[in-house]
């Protein structure tokens, strides 16, 4: 049967099992929106800004592990998606973003709402496609989903001209994808695995350094088994939080710029660093020359370009992280006596780490007068459900969340790590809530970033998405203010947000509810009320305005040059 392009697109989404799309209509996607009536199984959520739509698709993808889908019209709709796409690209999140385009005959004519979105997104997509003929459409959609979710995942954009949506073709969804230029490596090379096992078992001071690839590669179970079999300590990046339970005695928490003293000391003093799905970001390594100076480095990653990009690596292993870790486990478990003696050999190292933990635990000065943000984060952990999903924005509150929440399950922290996109938190939470209507989803935002996408409260209310929004209000662009305090002589140029906003009224204006905590004694009650209220909620915490995120490794310093207390 012959179908119009717009219809073919939606049939393809159905074949891919897409149940939710985040999209915004406009002239060049109006045909798709008209066809949508025939697809009751596809839930369409209308955000109030295309950037938020893409962040929502991203939050949906991070929380569920499925490919997130977003739609936008040509021109301004398409350009509005760019920040969302770049955010997903930096954190390797699988998305398919569909943009309308002016009719093929007009492309290149500066037509109304024409923009070269293929050119604009080329450096921030894993791949992108311009569909020139309706006969190619089904094959392209198939490829797009395949590319987005396999190997190192990432966003793929499909630019669909209006005339292609109208033109008809025979619809047949291809069963297989054949891309001769794209064959991601799945299994690790057996010889490399053998070598890795030997290096591991010979180590006396090992550290496993875990990044977001471990979560994206669904390898949390294998990681845990490896660490617990060997008694090897584990530190995670921001993106890796949740890959390893932070309540385990083997957990060192976060490393890097705002990492724990003991994680950074362990990395600086280890003799073997096993990097798993991590990419040695500068926020993690500090000064490269002083990073893990005594260690041999094993690097497991699905993306060969991540390996040896900025640090020397003694043993690279390219492959899917879960496959490689289970291969490695098999080899190690076959050598039971070596494992026994390894556990004995690392005892002094674990004791040394415990010494660091005891000397400089992660702490802050508690207060009964002002609300300490760290105390709010702890309370949120205490009062939320164990499987709650936390989305953060970007800034100090993001780091306090990373430090103090204690994540124990993969895919429960959604945060823009690579691009550091303010405005991400609220729409990402919205996407996660759409994926899991029954779970508790909490957005932790700064007062600055919240205002970058606050229009999405309307989407939450309209779609009955009961996201709990926590605003950590310091009336500052806090993270920048912290840098100004430390490095610019307290000259708070343009970081003071001193307009007193009534966030409760704001919530009410959208038909949501709001609560405020202005004193420490009000924190618990506010959280309880907020969690108990049925729909979307704003909880504002008026926090200690000039609290800093500590410890801190100044940019460019080495990890053992931490500023511990103010």
């Amino acid at each position: 049967m012959k179908l119009a392009g717009a219809r073919i697109l939606l049939e393809c989404l159905k074949q891919e099992g897409v149940d939710t799309v985040f999209g915004y209509p406009g002239g060049t996607v109006i045909n798709i929106y008209d066809e949508l009536y025939s697809f009751p199984d596809i839930r369409h959520i209308l955000p109030r800004h295309e950037q938020a739509g893409v962040h929502a698709a991203d939050g949906y993808a991070r929380a569920s592990g499925k490919v997130g889908v977003a739609i936008a019209t040509s021109g301004p709709g398409a350009t509005n998606t760019v920040t969302g796409i770049a955010t997903a690209y930096m954190d390797s999140i699988p998305l398919v973003v569909i943009t309308g385009q002016v009719p093929t005959a007009l492309i290149g004519n500066d037509a109304f709402q024409e923009v070269d979105i293929i050119g604009i997104t080329r450096p921030c997509t894993k791949h992108n496609f311009l569909v020139k003929n309706v006969r190619e459409l089904a094959g392209i959609v198939k490829k797009a989903f395949y590319i987005a979710r396999t190997g190192r995942p990432g966003p793929v954009l499909i630019d669909l001209p209006k005339d292609v949506q109208v033109a008809v073709a025979e619809f047949r969804y291809p069963e297989k994808v054949d891309l001769r230029g794209y064959k991601p490596t799945i299994e690790g090379h057996p010889k490399q695995i053998e070598k890795a096992a030997a290096m591991l078992l010979a180590a006396k001071k090992p550290v496993i350094y875990v990044g977001g690839g471990t979560i994206l590669g669904n390898a949390a179970a294998e990681l845990r088994e490896l660490a617990e079999t060997l008694h090897a300590p584990v530190t995670t990046t921001l993106m890796g939080l949740g890959a390893f339970p932070e309540d385990s005695p083997l957990s060192l928490g976060l490393l890097g710029m705002h990492g724990t003293y003991y994680a950074n000391m362990a990395v600086t003093n280890c003799d073997l660093l096993v990097a798993v799905g991590a990419r040695f970001d500068d926020r993690v390594t500090g000064k490269i020359a002083a990073f893990a100076p005594h260690a041999k480095i094993i690097h497991v990653d699905v993306d060969p370009t991540s390996i040896k990009k900025n640090v020397r690596v003694d043993l690279p292993i390219v492959g899917m992280v879960n496959d490689v870790l289970s291969q490695l486990l098999k080899v190690i478990e076959d050598r039971g006596d070596a494992v026994e003696s390894f556990r004995t050999a690392v005892k002094p190292w674990l004791a040394e780490i415990d010494g660091w933990k005891a000397r400089h635990p992660l702490t802050f000065v508690e207060s009964s007068k002002v609300i300490k943000p760290q105390a709010v984060i702890r309370k949120l952990r205490e009062l939320s459900r164990p499987d709650a999903i936390i989305a953060t924005d970007v800034g100090q509150h993001q780091m306090w969340t990373a430090q103090y929440f204690s994540f124990t399950r993969p895919r429960t922290l959604l945060s823009s790590g690579g691009l550091g996109t303010m405005g991400y938190g609220l729409p990402a939470a919205m996407g996660a809530q759409a994926a899991f209507p029954e779970r508790q989803v909490i957005a932790i935002c700064g007062d600055g970033g919240f205002q970058m996408n606050l229009q999405e409260i309307a989407t939450l209310v309209q779609n009955r998405l009961p996201v709990k929004i926590c605003i950590m209000n310091n009336n500052y662009l806090g993270m920048v203010r912290q840098w100004q305090e430390l490095f610019f002589g307290k000259r708070y140029s343009q970081t003071v947000l001193d307009l007193p906003i009534d966030f409760v009224k704001l919530a009410e204006a959208f038909g949501a509810v709001g609560f405020v905590a202005a004193k420490p004694s009000e924190v618990e009650e506010t959280i309880r009320k907020g969690f108990a209220a049925p729909g979307p909620v704003i909880m504002e915490f008026k926090i200690a305005r000039e609290e800093k995120v500590l410890p801190m490794v100044p940019a460019g310093a080495s990890l053992d040059e931490m500023v511990l207390a103010s």
Binding site: I118, L130, K132, L179, R180, G181, D303, P304, T305
Partner: protein, 163 residues
């Protein structure tokens, strides 16, 4: 270090800008780049001459391989490849200089492909170093215009990369 890389690519819309964007976005150098269709009409072949140390070169080949439209990346070394380039050179040639130009053309087995009372246009083919050498000799006589194709390269021996 100078490196010559051959890349087989899908004949898709936008491939050239993906490759060019990769080099500019990551700060890799391109000394020359030539591209044309192959025997297989779905494929083109690029020859890219670049510079960088071992680590940079490794990143370049890995990133090229990562592009979906790239089918094959071959990193040539001097021993494994034969490289050729062509140049068209318009050189001032009046009076006594005319004979000098012709002598140089003869030594390099080049060809005069156009002539006027004031100039010769010369076609020369060879390894890039040979082109550099003839240019060194012609330059003092007065170069009016120069076009180089950039290198193309092919592996030595019987083995061939289809395309």
């Amino acid at each position: 270090m100078r490196h010559t890389i051959a890349v087989l690519v899908e004949n898709e819309f936008g491939v050239l800008s993906r490759v060019a964007g990769l080099f500019s976005g990551r700060g890799f150098n391109i000394d020359s780049l030539s591209v044309a269709p192959t025997n297989d009409e779905d494929m083109s072949r690029m020859t890219i001459v670049t510079r960088g140390d071992e680590q940079i070169l490794e990143q370049i080949t890995k990133h090229l391989n990562k592009l979906i439209d790239i089918i094959k990346v071959i990193d040539f070394t001097d021993e494994t490849a034969i490289e050729r380039e062509m140049a068209l050179i318009k050189v001032t040639a009046e009076d006594a200089a005319r004979a000098e130009v012709l002598r140089i053309v003869d030594i390099f087995r080049a060809k005069v492909i156009d002539t006027t009372p004031k100039s010769f246009t010369v076609e020369v083919t060879g390894a890039p170093s040979k082109i550099d050498a003839i240019l060194d000799l012609l330059r003092p006589l007065g170069l009016k215009e120069l076009v180089r194709t950039g290198s193309v390269a092919i592996g030595r021996g019987a083995k061939g990369w289809k395309g």
